[in-house]
Symmetry: none
Subunit: 215 residues, 2 copies
């Protein structure tokens, strides 16, 4: 469960937001000044930072805080002019919202910033395929696939249930434009089947292969 540090000296807004965020399942820590911010910064996964605090413009502290621990920061402010937004973003913030704003939008932005970018994770039964690292885990165990094998697995997983012509596979993965009789596709299908017992690849005689849609 992610924890959010809310820095807001407006009692009403601070109270409302912290309740709201709590209700959405976040651990929300609400502070009202720079000193407390400093203290709680380390425990947060994301920071919502009001720009005007009683003890001054919170932006002054931002670079220092970020240097201690890098976090996604969403700045809240009443100021609407462009220069201020640009300044906030340039000082290290990830996002900038102008009051008044809708709770729902803030929440959506929080989710967007907390969501890991590399989450291109495909799942099929006990398989996990990470596209960006080109790695496959089967029941938690890393399995090494050769490049073409990985490409083939990826294509099948991205279209579960669909029948692929051998020719289509040769074209999409091997880049072939003519289709000689070859055992190449079979070979790679074979390797995948051997590597992953849980992988249900149906043979469609005279056509090609398809991956049984997992649920």
């Amino acid at each position: 469960m992610n924890s959010i540090l809310l820095v807001e000296d407006d009692e009403l807004l601070g109270h409302g937001l912290s309740l709201y965020l709590n209700s959405k399942g976040y651990t929300c820590c609400w502070v009202t000044n720079a000193t407390d911010t400093n203290e709680y910064w380390f425990h947060a996964d994301l920071v919502i930072l009001d720009r005007q605090l009683q003890d001054g413009d919170s932006l002054r502290h931002l670079p220092g805080w970020l240097m201690q621990k890098a976090l996604p920061v969403i700045i809240l402010t009443a100021k609407v002019d462009i220069e201020n937004r640009v300044e906030g973003l340039m000082l290290g913030a990830k996002d900038y919202m102008t009051k008044p704003f809708a709770q729902e939008e803030l929440l959506a932005r929080i989710i967007a910033h907390l969501r890991p970018l590399g989450a291109s994770l495909l799942e099929y039964k006990s398989l996990q395929i990470d596209v960006s690292s080109r790695t496959v885990k089967c029941a938690g165990e890393r399995v090494n696939l050769k490049p073409k094998e990985f490409d083939l697995l990826l294509l099948l997983l991205q279209n579960p249930g669909r029948v692929f012509h051998r020719d289509e596979l040769l074209n999409k993965i091997w880049g072939y434009r003519s289709f000689p009789s070859t055992r190449t596709v079979d070979n790679h299908i074979l390797h995948l089947r051997q590597a992953f017992p849980c992988l249900e690849v149906e043979t469609h005689r005279g056509i090609g292969y398809r991956l049984t849609a997992a649920k």
Copy 2:
């Protein structure tokens, strides 16, 4: 040299923005439809996506595109209502801007999203990398790296686990736009491997390299 994919079917805005981004030092690729987006997605570091294209709502394609390669996406739209913003963010976008907007703010947001959330101190096993002073310590011992070697190490460490195409490395670190056959990348990888026995760089034959995510 970061490259930005601009998906915008308004001629005027598309042209203006691509010029602007180019003038700010980005390699900007401007396309106007979903098909071309699909093709260029892989080469981009960040995507600016207009929501309404001639061939429909671009949000339909977003999850599919993100699955191929995870990228920060900024959505542009004329729609102002909250539901639309939330929808876009929930589908995987990192940011959402409503037209009309100021170029400067878009630029600031681009910078914010491309800026690695990295603290100035990166760690990997027994390595400590100080980004600001460009120094590396291995098990407490200062190790001198050549500039390009440091850049390469930094890029890998900022994206642990991710596979980098050789072309991508040549582009990001060497600024190449064409990709001649060269032993340059291999050489620098070699030097890093020799300098740091603890550095686990996987070779992905025919693709590139990746740093094993340490934990």
